[in-house]
């Protein structure tokens, strides 16, 4: 994690207390991928993601990384930020994707899958 990422994560962590419910740890661990691919495939994706990105192989690190990936507007308490679904769509549009277990996934949902593999599996 470089300095900028560290500051982002730190700033995001400071806002965790005021997060919308959709962004709490357990809500994020239920990615929209679940009804598409099923729990077993999502769990496998999550495990593989943690192997590929060992720096995020902890629930708090994953949580922080997802929060840090939100646009600036989401970090301002009085502005309504994007939903997690909108973040996923924006990832795809912006090319923030990765191939995990062969699946072309948004980075956000890959991290969500990793959380799922830790919390729900």
């Amino acid at each position: 994690m470089d300095r900028r990422q560290f500051l982002d994560v730190t700033a995001s962590s400071a806002l965790v207390a005021g997060l919308p419910a959709a962004f709490n740890l357990h809500a994020l661990a239920q990615p929209d991928l679940l009804p598409i691919l099923g729990p077993e495939a999502v769990r496998e994706i999550g495990v593989r993601y943690r192997e590929l990105v060992p720096a995020e192989n902890q629930r708090q690190a994953l949580h922080a990384a997802i929060l840090a990936a939100r646009p600036w507007s989401a970090r301002v308490p009085w502005l309504a930020g994007p939903s997690i679904g909108a973040m996923v769509a924006e990832d795809f549009a912006a090319g923030r994707t990765m191939v995990v277990q062969g699946w072309v996934l948004s980075t956000t949902e890959a991290r969500q899958s990793a959380l799922y593999s830790m919390l729900a599996a």
Partner: protein, 507 residues
């Protein structure tokens, strides 16, 4: 008129204004155009009216490149040609297919797509297709339930196919050809050599042999080779009595640039159930479906990503099923069942519900490659003609294009909320290897490619062989690039265009 060449006295001379060698989709399409004209036409078919093993054996050959189908099974050698076993898939080439693309070496046609449009329209009824409409919107207007996926047209689009019954030219047009007074069909008339004049500027005649040992000669003002991509090249190369490299081969191009369509299972699509996407437009039932869509990258994305053209079809399946290539899928047992159901007028039972999981089957053009080629074997066939030797070879661009296609498609289907795409292992790997499921579509193209400059092409834009005043080539062998569309519609369109050209020339 129909004559079996075996019944002619040995040494017969057959004469006409125009001689067409080969009675497949290209040759028959041309011959039909001349019925009732004041010109006489010789239509020479090496096989008979029906399949005969001895005739088919003349197409046996060697394969020394990537694994390929047995050459004697990859085309048919009797009246009607390979339409005797084609599946009827038809679509047009895209405008980008005609462009010179700086990222695709040797690409570019000496004609534009717009120049082919009127001939595509004329080819439609010959192949018993619907109207000349290949936009998804055209089909949606006919049937509002045929809805294209909500894709960004700057990234991906739905390319349409139409399906011929499929038209078996040998049975569909047999009576018309045989009944024509000015078209003289000779069967069992195998052209073994094209004889050039002394200056190598024109063809003087053709040596025609039968399996029972007779040899005849065919003479015409103009000649058209309409055999198939392998056989067209083989005949030119084997016509080496006056020039050791064969005819039309001054620049060592004949036989080179052999192309196929790479048809390989490459991935999966899992639909997002919440979006309830309608995929009816993409469904296919052999013998029932009139038109369907496949997914393609936009021309802009092909250019930006520097990849080849291709399309992906959606085949409903289950996640735990192993994907199969077209020919793995078509087992003798399954084909038998399909034929039985078709004979009884039955379609396959409709799916119980809209599928949510699909195998993705790619059909991708092959980059033109001079090292992918047809040569002559040292072995000779029963008529003493050297057999064909095929070296099918692919390039890094062919391989890379698959991965790029699937990654772009994965992002676009994710962005649009349609679902998620999975790349099969071989697509993900960057090791340059091909999977065991690598197969071609039995589409042979490119061995007598078209280019205005004889240094880069065997035929010119009219399909005339460079340097030979009266020899033309019809069929997919003239394609400089193959696009993603199955070749038959385009080769019939080009044959009609050539026919018009020859009518003007003979007038």
């Amino acid at each position: 008129m129909h004559i079996d060449a075996r019944t002619l006295p040995n040494g017969s001379v057959l004469e006409a204004d125009l001689c067409i060698v080969g009675a497949g989709a290209a040759g028959i399409s041309m011959a039909l155009e001349w019925i009732g004209s004041p010109r006489t036409v010789l239509l020479l078919e090496g096989g008979g009216l029906e399949y005969e093993p001895a005739m088919q054996d003349l197409y046996r050959g060697e394969s020394v490149g990537l694994p390929y189908y047995p050459l004697q099974a990859a085309r048919l050698h009797y009246f009607g040609g390979t339409t005797g076993h084609w599946a009827g898939f038809c679509s047009t080439l895209d405008p980008i297919d005609f462009d010179k693309r700086d990222w695709v070496p040797h690409s570019g046609w000496p004609l534009r797509r717009e120049e082919l449009d009127p001939f595509y329209a004329r080819a439609q009824p010959l192949l018993e297709l619907g109207p000349y409409e290949y936009a998804a919107g055209d089909w949606q207007r006919r049937d509002p339930t045929l809805v294209p996926l909500p894709l960004d047209p700057r990234v991906m689009w739905t390319k349409m196919w139409q399906f011929s019954p499929p038209t078996r030219f040998g049975t569909r047009y047999r009576d018309a050809v045989i009944g024509a007074r000015n078209v003289h069909l000779y069967t069992h008339a195998n052209v073994c050599e094209l004889e050039a004049n002394e200056s190598l500027g024109a063809i003087e005649g053709l040596r025609v042999r039968t399996l029972d040992g007779k040899e005849h000669r065919a003479r015409a003002r103009y000649y058209v080779l309409a055999c198939c991509s392998i056989q067209n090249a083989r005949l030119l190369l084997a016509s080496n009595r006056r020039t050791p490299t064969g005819l039309g081969n001054a620049h060592d191009l004949v036989g080179r640039f052999f192309m196929e369509h790479l048809e390989i299972p490459s991935g999966h699509l899992a639909l997002a159930p919440s979006h309830a996407v309608n995929t009816k437009l993409y469904a296919f039932e052999f013998g029932q479906t009139k038109a369907r869509g496949e997914l393609a990258l936009s021309a802009a994305v092909q250019s930006n990503q520097r990849v080849l053209n291709g399309t992906v079809s959606l085949e409903p399946g289950a996640p735990d099923e192993e994907a199969q290539s077209t020919f793995q899928w078509g087992t003798p047992e399954r084909l038998k069942t399909m034929r039985e159901r078709k004979a009884l007028g039955k379609a396959a039972p409709p799916p119980a519900k809209s599928p949510l999981f699909f195998h993705l089957m790619t059909r991708q053009e092959q980059a033109p490659n001079p090292d992918s080629r047809v040569m002559l074997s040292t072995e000779r066939d029963a008529l003493d003609v050297p057999r064909a030797k095929l070296a099918w070879r692919l390039t890094e661009l062919d391989r890379r294009s698959f991965r790029v296609f699937y990654e772009v498609m994965g992002r676009e289907l994710g962005r649009s909320g349609v679902g998620r795409v999975q790349l099969l292992d071989w697509v993900s790997r960057d090791d340059g290897t091909w999977p065991s499921t690598l197969s071609g579509g039995w589409h042979h193209m490119g061995t007598t490619r078209m280019h205005d400059n004889p240094r880069f092409g065997v035929v010119d834009a009219t399909c005339r062989v460079h340097g030979l005043d009266n020899l033309y080539v019809a069929g997919a062998s003239v394609y400089p690039t193959g696009g993603a569309a199955n070749p038959t519609l385009t080769l019939v369109a080009l044959s009609l265009r050539l026919s018009d050209h020859l009518k003007r020339t003979l007038a």
